[in-house]
């Protein structure tokens, strides 16, 4: 099978890998590059577990062709923290019990990140809309919505608490 060279920035780091024709970004991130934070939940674009940002736009890695991210910047939940300093979303999810089994969490965080990058002061309804493509089966959505609103407030407050 023909291999294609793809280069992209993954969480700021230059990355190069050969991919198969038709290979999806989720598979390349997980098995090719070793970033295991995006998760397989359905492989059909139906659950949001593989949500990542491509050039700042929220994308579902399982239905994104790996070749299409050539030259792009890809961000995953693994790159949210700044070294040991957690992103306000991560802190809010921890403190607000917004993760139970944790499987949907990386995707949920990226959907929330995309929202807050575009809209620092979202209304509750806008948070609901922003994560409407992400299924959660055990935490329940309310603590997640609360955590995203808390993180937004934290980010608007500027410096870390």
């Amino acid at each position: 099978m023909t291999k294609t060279a793809v280069t992209f920035r993954l969480n700021g780091a230059e990355t190069a890998i050969f991919v198969d024709g038709g290979q999806n970004l989720l598979d390349v991130l997980r098995r090719g590059v070793g970033d295991l934070s995006p998760k397989y939940g359905c492989g059909q674009g139906g659950c949001g577990g593989c949500s990542v940002l491509v050039d700042g736009t929220l994308r579902l890695a399982c239905i994104t062709l790996a070749e299409s991210v050539d030259g792009a910047s890809v961000e995953t939940a693994a790159g949210l923290a700044d070294g040991p300093r957690l992103h306000p979303l991560q802190k809010a999810f921890m403190e607000g019990f917004a993760a139970q089994c944790g499987y949907c969490t990386p995707g949920m965080l990226m959907a929330a990140r995309a929202l807050l990058d575009a809209n620092p002061d979202p209304a509750r309804e806008e948070v609901v809309e922003a994560i409407s493509g992400n299924l959660c089966r055990c935490t329940g959505y309310e603590p997640i919505i609360d955590a995203i609103l808390a993180a937004a407030a934290d980010l608007r407050g500027g410096a870390a608490r």
Partner: protein
Amino acid sequence: MTTFEMRKEYFADERPEDLKEIGRPTIRQDILGHVTGRSRFYDDHLFDGLLHMRCVRSPHHHARVRAIDASAAEAMPGVRRIVRSGDVPKNLNTLLSLLGFGRDDEPLITPETVGYRGEPVLAVIAETEAAARAAVRAVRVDWDVLPHVLDVEAALAPDAPIVNSEYPNNSFDYHDRYDHQKLRFGDVDRAFQGAERIVEGRYRMSPIEQAPMETCGAIAVPESNDRFTCHTSTQALFFSLATTAKLLDLPSAKLHFIGGTVGGGFGGKVDSVVEPMSVLGAQLTGRPVKFMWDREEEMQVGAPRGAEMWDIRDGLDRDGRIIARRFTGYFDAGAYTRLSSYAVVKAVGHLPGPYTIPNVAANVYCVFTNRTPATAMRGFGITGVDFAIECQMDRAAEAAGLDPVAFRILNAYRDGDMKAHRRLAKNTALIECCQVAAEKAGWPLDGTALSQSSLSGGGGARASVPETATDGEGRIGERRRRALPAEPLAGSGPRGRLPEGTIRGSDVAAAPPQRMDMGPGSGPDLESFVVPPLPAAPSPATGPVPHQPPIAPSTAASSPAAPATPTAPATPATPAAGDSMLAARLRRSRFLAGTRRR
């Protein structure tokens, strides 16, 4: 020194004695991994040379394999091994055999006759997932399609197709010789004769898929010490290890299972199917092998909470006390036993619910049908019959002309009462729960209901074990279904005259059917099933219904009348939701039409 005292002595500094955590927020110890994406689920382990295993599955509910031609698949690039039923060292098991309960009835890879759609008959191991999928498609199976049965009553009919050759009567054998689990307490027949009112109802619950975000799977790795490491999504690590050891005829010391970080389970990850498959693959190839269900397999062959059907007949006295209650229950096990036999035992121990009723009888069947085998899910064995009981309570209250909450308080068990399984009730709190729920809902209760307490009024005559009615042979009832009295089951068709005051319940469905008999092309995915998404405001057309039972829990599942709430998405529809539907006079067809999102 008792264990408890030791704990107090040695761990005194580690845990305060006045442990009060409920109602306080706490930080999960594993949450740092979750929010940084570093928690390692079974599939978050990378191995050089990982192979992928996939199954050839039956497209039929019930069929016999005449022949399998895997020659084309075997010759395809990337294919490393075809795995046949004969490759499984001990290819017959039942999950509860580890507890000595039930007979081995299910192969890991089926050699001849399949009993449900999706049952595996062959497996392929290949270098990539794509190669494994292509090879599976290239396998030709010559099927002899057999008549199937998908309904518990039809499965118990004398001419029904035999689903499971180990249980040719299509029912699990209890205590080696009975086709049902029985409960007898007092004499229901005599009590019915003296009853002021008889209230009957039939209640059904469809299968419910646990739908975990992470599908079931395992990766097995041959180690240099002649052992196999198995990374698995299981909820039951040692149970899965022992099941694998049994099927593969391996000493358990050869197996090292690693798990515990589970991407949602809800009972659907205890059946120990993926682990023996992956270890078998690693044995046969000498390489790491992943056996992972995709979403379609999770929804179609992943064992759901099984369907249930309950017939309940109550006898009430003039004051509205329930003096007799009889159950006939049917658990749909699907094609194999798995854990359904145990669910029935658990259910019977739960009867007649949290009420003190002096005469109780139950016959409960674990029935085999050609549906996906059922297994555990959140409180299984209890949830279905509780749905039935609480719907029945509303119906009986209506028949007696009593407030439904007051009716529950009137019949609630109290400390010191004898329960039907002959244990004294203690720490009862149904009365107080009803009172608090009514208060919070703004539901008015009369002074009598408000003045009751679980701590008083129980015991005494209510603590006695009534004499159990026996027949002329000193038996407490029939051994098998064909010896049952000729009276038809409630709701099952034409029947004789019912006593004055009889109320007949119509069918009440707790949840829409979620699998089986889907139209061609409607593959089971997350979109075509009701997996509760974010809460949405009820639309005007399906908004509040006029009669909302006062003790409606806040966790009603998705339905036209009760919008999904996000707090307990894996919990099935509640009695309140079911009865709201009835009260709103929603037609069953409309109810079912609401089960698919498209």
